[in-house]
Subunit: 530 residues, 2 copies
């Protein structure tokens, strides 16, 4: 029997809040570092040695996770419970990984949803192979070389971050050919202008992505690129023949027989959780090949399975989520920095920022009642070592403590490297990562010159793996998706709707309709020259 | 006579902390919006109507600014005072704009520094014109088409953000030809690998940027691209003939007669303040032409002049800075979101993140004494409308308030736009911006369904201008540089050093030397496979 209660009504909340943080500054040691390591999917592991939790706090986190029935709720979600209470919907993104956990069947809308998603997956395989082999060509007979996704929010950030992340993979990863992937998201016409400028439209395929088929930005950008194609003067260029759509089967985009193909998602896949659905699948399969996308799905699925473990000491995602609760609700930290030591992951923090802040930036519980505690933190980040020469100054010596989540790999993704001063670039990258964790945790006192003094006690965790290959990328993605889900369960909120985006949409329409007498809108519209 | 005192020792600190915030939710109106607008350089203005300050609070902010002698300190900095106390250095980035304020002369190291910077500027003009005209060619006789900056931190973020920001300018902006600009920053070998892959090395020019000439990442990347050039097998390709350096005249990079050219900066230009020095000037002049860079300098200079005004109601930068103090030290907000409604500014938040967090993320005052109040906040941001479909959920409905700084333009930068549903994309962009400001400030109650309720009272400001041209870009850059400087004066900290980056560097060297018996480093190095 599953119970839903607010965090402040649990037995363990007050217990947790009273726990004094473990002193990482003086008590971090090699034994702790080696022992505080949890294996996850593939070669991935989560290390929490530099987090301010001791065995006693971990016991309380386990008790709280049990009391809030995190694993039971995860299983309920997997089996088709309507976990998206605000919109009264199922939550099925884990079912888009190409296989169901434990072969679970989920019926909805008169179909088995696993079968439904797998059918779309097969459509993606067939279509992407035809485009990549040159069987499907542009309307003037040219092979497709560039794929442009037009979408915003979840239809952009996740797919884009994953596409960029695999930039340097090669035959060892099942990728023997690459098409160029680009993205148009912003309603700002300068976005589309920059992306299509100098482009060979005849060898370009556009992917329109909008679940509802009504997203203002996406439709405006579709019309804008159609106009560019029509104005190009190229004989025989038919815009519709350069377009596929990813949408729900009830959307206006679903019914255009003129376009090349339509791939379906549904209301049970939130935008920010849709990277493993056709929203990410079409562009990833076109760009790198279907096998690469399949490997991402395999990694995500393997990680979903790891997340079923109820022992917090054997479940890295659960540990990560629960430590986050301790940091947020007991220690009061309002933010977390996500710091990948991999240039290929340079847009992953932006995706995790959406994933986390849009899911858990909520002030009401899953029943719509205002909660009495803090929920999701602000998420930000940039790749290391870049950040070390930028905002790390504040992380080391600022007046506030910012918890950090490091991500690192033992090997580079590409094949280029070089020795310089006795070490390779990849080794330097890793040495910096290791150095930062210890510097943040242990600090260094300098009584003579406080300006050179590092207080330490800056908590961080480390998610690491052998190499950023497609499987590992999928596992990292699922780790963060499931972390956010677990934290939502602890806070008793609905991590799957986003009512907070609505008011802005309503008011923007009002401005476009002449402000309808709203004097504030009028005054700002005047300033902006509308 | 200038006095330096900690914020908590000022008369106005307690006064300010006691002030009840102005209620923007119920008191925002058209009159306030029109009146709370301060003209800055060119067409730019700063609007603070949706900030929780009334005339009484502004009076206190003025009194505090006067008490902390912000304008006097700015003038002292301009006239060569050693404001970088930690490193005992002058702070002269405003002098790199191509002209001195009020013709001020600053002597240091036996030269007049304005003349020194202007000489380098003239060198940039001559060199960039020769490269762009084809007079200077690559070592195999090909014209230079691609320029790659190798630098990290301040040698990367600012120049990169500015380069990207001007992507769509054209002849109306004095730009008749564009070279392609790219950037290598991260020591991760995958960064260089991705940038140089598929590149025509014969028509590429590299700019090495490191003030000290010893930056680990930059030297590793230099060697890495040299190796690629040597391994390319191209007859007659001489790597050194494809390289210029930007460095100080005492650095190891300054003394290589084999390379094409060297441009000098000095110790009085902090990395994060160096975008208008040769650090940004060489790549911007090569990419867009010297006249474009000169227009950026003109905009920055005009804004520097605006910032001299002592009346807070006539000085947008001062108002912005002081409202930030109220938000941080009276209301306790630990972060600020920077939200440009312009896709071309997509990397500007990353630059401002460094600028602000590295400058003011300090725990000691300018004399090295620990301070008793909060200093610089966490800065993050992404372009709108993208963010609206991402993290804005938390900004609207999260449990914490995040102050916001909007940036917008009346006209698009590029020439592409389209009508869709009765409005252009640019108008939609602006309508969204206007809508968000009002939605955040005023909210919307929904007693029946708190999940659809927006609490409002989310403060924001708006920096806006006619169009993102080079002059305006320079003005925006200087606005934020000067804002950070003013806030540093209020907090009595040194915004111009960065001791917080040192410990990580020391420990990274230790790891590369085998950890020297540090068991924590050893254990993490083991996990990372070092």
């Amino acid at each position: 029997m599953i119970n839903y209660k607010d965090l402040d009504l649990t037995d363990n909340y007050a217990v947790l809040k009273a726990k004094k943080p473990f002193d990482i500054k003086t008590c971090l040691n090699a034994d702790r570092i080696r022992k505080s390591n949890i294996r996850e999917a593939g070669s991935m592991s989560y290390n929490y040695a530099a987090m301010p939790v001791d065995e006693d706090i971990i016991d309380t986190l386990q008790a709280l996770a049990d009391e809030q029935q995190l694993i039971e709720k995860y299983k309920a979600l997997l089996s088709g419970e309507r976990m998206n209470t605000g919109e009264d919907r199922l939550v099925l993104h884990q079912l888009t990984r190409g296989r169901a956990i434990d072969g679970l069947k989920v019926m909805a809308d008169g179909v088995e949803k696993g079968d439904f998603y797998n059918q779309e997956l097969e459509k993606i395989r067939v279509f992407s192979e035809k485009v990549r082999s040159g069987e499907i060509k542009g309307s003037t007979g040219k092979e497709i070389k560039t794929v442009i996704q037009i979408g915003i929010g979840g239809s952009d950030l996740g797919p884009r971050a994953l596409c960029y992340a695999l930039n340097l993979i090669g035959p060892q990863d099942g990728c023997t050919k690459k098409l160029e992937a680009r993205f148009i998201s912003n309603v700002d016409p300068d976005d589309a202008c920059a992306v299509v400028s100098g482009l060979d439209l005849e060898s370009t395929l556009f992917i329109l992505v909008s679940k509802s088929g009504t997203t203002q930005e996406t439709l405006a950008n579709r019309d804008l690129v159609f106009k560019v194609m029509r104005d190009s003067g190229v004989q025989g260029l038919v815009p519709e023949k350069h377009v596929v759509a990813v949408t729900s089967n009830t959307s206006p985009l679903a019914n255009n027989p003129d376009i090349l193909a339509v791939f379906f998602m549904d209301d049970y896949i939130g935008g920010r959780y849709s990277a493993t659905s056709p929203v990410g699948g079409v562009i990833l399969s076109l760009t790198y090949g279907f096998d690469v996308f399949k490997a991402i799905l395999d990694g995500a699925h393997a990680e979903d399975v790891c997340a079923l473990e109820s022992d917090i000491r054997k479940n890295g995602t659960l540990m990560d989520a629960m430590i986050g609760i301790y940091l947020r609700n007991a220690l009061g930290y309002p933010y977390t920095a996500v710091l990948p030591y991999s240039q290929s992951l340079h847009r992953m923090p932006a995706h995790f920022q959406q994933l986390d802040m849009e899911s858990n930036g909520k002030h009401v519980n899953r029943f719509g009642k205002v909660v009495n505690y803090q929920t999701g933190p602000v998420i930000f980040g940039e790749p290391g070592t870049n950040g070390q020469h930028s905002f790390y100054q504040l992380l080391h010596q600022g007046t506030d403590i910012v918890p950090m989540q490091f991500i690192g790999f033992r090997n580079a993704q590409g094949e280029l490297d070089n020795m310089n001063g006795g070490s390779t670039s990849q080794t330097k990258l890793k040495a910096n990562l290791v150095a930062q964790i210890v510097a943040f945790a242990c600090g260094r006192d300098n009584a003579e010159n406080p300006n050179k003094s590092f207080e330490g006690s800056r908590p961080s965790s480390l998610l690491c793996a052998d190499r950023l290959d497609p499987f590992t990328l999928g596992a990292i993605l699922a780790h963060f998706e499931n972390k956010v889900m677990f934290q939502g369960f602890v806070w008793n909120i609905n991590s799957f709707d986003q009512e907070g985006v609505q008011l802005g949409k309503i008011l923007a329409k009002k401005v476009l309709a002449g402000c309808e007498g709203d004097e504030n809108l009028e005054a700002y519209a005047e300033i902006m020259g509308i």
